[in-house]
Every structure is written in C-alpha cells, then in structure tokens.
C-alpha cells in the first residue's frame, strides 16, 4: 500500500493489531488513534507517527526509520530493534528494548520492569523512572535514566556519564521538545557474566 514518498493517514485504527508492519519504502504513516500489538514492526525506512497508545511490541525488530507514539506504549516496545529511533511520549511497559540490537529508544515518561533486558547494542533513554531489574543481563549498549531506578538487574552497573555523552542525550531529547531534563544516570553491562570467546568455534579452528 505504501509507496516511496507517500504520506498516509490512518483514521480510526481502533487499537487493532499488526498495523503498518514490514514497510520498506520511505514514506510517512500517521495513525490517528491507538494501535494494538506489533504496530510498525519490522520497519525499514518509514516514519510512523501514532496519536494515541500502542499495545505490546511496538516497533519490534525495526531496522531503520522513525516511530513516535504520543501516549503510552505497552510491554516490549522496541524489542530486538536494530536501528532507527523510537520515541514514546508517555510511559513504556515491561521489557522495553528487550534484546535491542541497535538504534535509539527514548521514553519521555517512566519505563517498566526489566527494561533493556539482554540488550546487545544501542541506546535507551528514560526521562522518568525505571522499574525493577533495569538492564538485566545486558551485553552491550547504554541506558540513561533521568529519574530513579527501582533496582538494577543482574550484571548491570552504573558508570559515570561523560559530558560529551550527556550533550548527546540532551540533543536527542531536544529533537522531541524535551528541555527540562539535565542529569542522567548511565547504566551499562558490568560484563561479569561474559563467558564467551570472541570467536565462533569454526572461526577458531580456522586459525
């Protein structure tokens, strides 16, 4: 349905599931109302704007593009996303950015239980408070929290934020009209659960 450069407006989405999935053309899609599960998932290129709430797994496996939801996102927002930018204007549910592999996930409000669980790359910015077990078993990537952290997950640790990084975070927020946040706590992997060789078995035998 979507073609290059088009602007599409979807009226009365009525929180239905699987809307705007697997679209690879550069276009703009605007949902005037809430969307259900897996909205704008497997996206590669488009810009998606949702005026309302999103159900579970908004922007799941996004490769590139932009998604913004004006209100709250359900659980697993941005799960396994590899690139692009996902902005949540309200709160995010549990397991936000689970197994994230790249890109930026920005939450203007609070974020739920197990945010950044098994995160492998990319950046999560939470302006409000983070729920329990933040960054549990994360491998790589960075989480920035503007509010309080209920608890850190296994192998997640707090690291000093550099001025350069802070400026980057503030610049990303400014793009969404958020100017009031000035300090962030940075959470990364302590890498104490790292028991991996850097090479695959076949790669090693080739040496």
């Amino acid at each position: 349905m979507a073609a290059k450069g088009e602007e599409i407006t979807v009226l009365n989405p009525n929180a239905r599931h699987n809307l705007g999935v697997a679209i690879f053309d550069m276009c703009t899609i605007r949902f005037e109302g809430s969307v259900g599960y897996y909205a704008a998932s497997m996206l590669d290129g488009p810009e998606v704007v949702i005026e309302g709430n999103a159900g579970w797994a908004l922007g799941e496996n996004m490769m590139a593009g932009k998604i913004s939801v004006s209100k709250n996102a359900g659980a697993s927002v941005g799960s396994t996303m590899r690139g692009g930018e996902l902005f949540v204007g309200g709160d995010a549910g549990a397991r936000a950015g689970i197994s994230m592999k790249g890109g930026s996930l920005i939450v203007a409000g609070n974020s739920g239980f197990l945010t950044g669980f098994m995160m492998q790359k990319g950046r999560i910015i939470i302006c409000g408070d983070a729920g329990e077990a933040l960054g549990d078993s994360m491998y790589e990537g960075t989480i920035y929290v503007g509010g309080s952290i209920a608890s850190l997950g296994a192998d997640a640790t707090i690291e000093e934020i550099s001025e350069e990084e802070l400026l980057d975070v503030l610049a990303a927020l400014r793009d969404h009209g958020i100017e009031n946040k000035r300090s962030f706590t940075k959470v990364v992997s302590a890498k104490k659960l790292y028991h991996y060789d850097t090479l695959e078995r076949l790669e090693k035998s080739a040496l």
Binding site: A15, Y37, N53, N72, R95, G112, F113, L114, E132
Partner: protein, 261 residues
C-alpha cells in the same frame, strides 16, 4: 467452609450429555429439597440447568450433595452472581443465554485458548470458588505450583471440579476471604503464594479486582471514569466501552487493584 445464606440462591449446573438434562434436573431438585431447600424455579436449556432456591443452610453442604448427583458440574452457586459458560462467540452467548439482558454492577468474562487442561465447557472460565458463593475468577497464564497447591487443598478435603489450574485461584482467594482477609490483602498474598504466570480478575459479591504476577508476563489494560471501570487484556476491547478518549493504564509487575461497591 461456606457461608450462612438467608434467601434465594441461584444454582447453575451443566451436564455433558444433553439427553441427561431432564434426569439431572429432577435429581438436582430432589437433592435441594432433601437438603432443606425450596425450589422457586427451574429452567433448562440444552445442557444447562438453572435453579433458584430458597435455602437457609450451609452452601458447602448443598454443593457437596449436588456434585454427588451423576452428571452434575456446578458452574456457580450465588446470591448475586451467576456463571454462564458455553462454546461460541460472545454474540452467540448473548442470543442463547441472554447475557446482555442481565442487570448488575460488575461482571467478568473470558475467551479461552486452552493450553493445558481439557477442552470442554466445564473447563472454560470463569471459575467459581466451589463451594463459596459469589466468588469467581478469570485467568490468563499458567500456574507452576498448581499440582502442589491442589494436593494441599485436597488433603484438607476440598473438592475440585476441573483439572484447570485457574480454578485454584478462585479457591485460594475464597479461602483467604473466609480467613478474614480483605480482597486487596488476599490478592497481595496470591502474588507470593501462586507461582508461574498470571493476570487474573476476581469478582465477589461486592468487589472486583485484578492481580498481575511479578514478571508482568500477561497483558492487562484499564480505563476508568467516575462511573465506569473497564479492564481487558487489550485496548481494542476497551474501545468498545468508551467512545471518548480515556487515559489507558497498563498495570505493571506485582500490581493488584480492587474496587468495592
């Protein structure tokens, strides 16, 4: 166990074979009379029997007598609530059982996608907390300590009507309420005592509540105004209740909430 009731009780009974319904009805009536109850009305609809009785004794005694009648599964006994479960769409349920005509303050419903126990009408939700009147539960999830809990309750003499793990939530909560806990307290206790994944709703005579497990494993969203509270797994279900734009709340891990009349 059980509660002293003055006044009319509605008993909802289901039997597997439709040809048995008249004998099940006759023997159920006889059992109620034998227990000291007075039959106010009897109605049947294929496999379903609905009795309105005046009964002054212990509901547990009546329930225990009724389940001894061959072919009887009790879907509910209550003074203010009735459990209606069947196979079909919600629209069909409305046409067949007149669900839309029932007036009341609160109700819970469920569409089952069976994962573990038997697939029949009896194993569908809601589950009534046999033999406690007016306590019913709908549940999404799997309880991993179900068999352990079930053995514990059976050792205490409790009778389960199904092999469905969700039935035990109703029984668990009824037990806590009978011990004198408030509804919210009972829901909180369940977060520790039930293992596995669950989001469930409970309806009692004067209350409604939800509990969500520590993993936030199962979905739940709510919308509330001064007059109405609507709770569902997905927002699409709530959109039919409210025409206007209402704030959607997604409860988080280990959250419980109750509303009391």
């Amino acid at each position: 166990m059980g509660e002293q009731i003055d006044g009319d009780l509605v008993i909802r009974i289901w039997t597997e074979n439709v040809q048995d319904i008249s004998s099940v009805a006759a023997r159920s009536e006889e059992t109620v009379r034998h227990a000291g109850g007075v039959i106010r009305s009897t109605s049947t609809l294929d496999q379903f029997l609905r009795l309105v009785v005046n009964y002054q004794g212990e509901v547990a005694d009546l329930a225990d007598a009724l389940i001894k009648v061959p072919g009887v599964a009790i879907h509910s006994i209550g003074t203010t609530s009735e459990v209606i479960k069947d196979i079909g769409t919600p629209a069909m349920m409305d046409v067949k059982h007149g669900v839309g005509e029932i007036l009341g303050t609160h109700g819970i419903g469920h569409v089952r996608m069976a994962t573990e126990s038997r697939v029949d009408v009896n194993h569908a939700h809601p589950f009534w907390a046999y033999p406690f009147p007016d306590i019913t539960v709908v549940h999404n999830g799997q309880l991993t300590n179900y068999h352990k809990l079930k053995r514990m309750y059976e050792d205490q003499g409790h009778h389960f009507q199904t092999g469905n793990d969700s039935e035990i939530i109703a029984v668990y909560l009824a037990g806590k309420l009978a011990e004198g806990q408030g509804l919210k307290q009972a829901l909180r206790s369940s977060l520790d005592d039930l293992d596995g994944t669950f989001t469930y709703l409970v309806a009692t005579k004067d209350g409604l509540g939800y509990a969500k497990d520590q993993w936030s494993a199962k979905p739940l969203v709510t919308m509330e105004t001064d007059d109405v509270i609507a709770i569902a797994s997905e927002e699409i279900s709530l959109r039919g209740v409210f025409a206007e734009e209402i704030e959607r709340i997604e409860p988080q891990n280990s959250e419980v909430m109750t509303w009391l009349l």
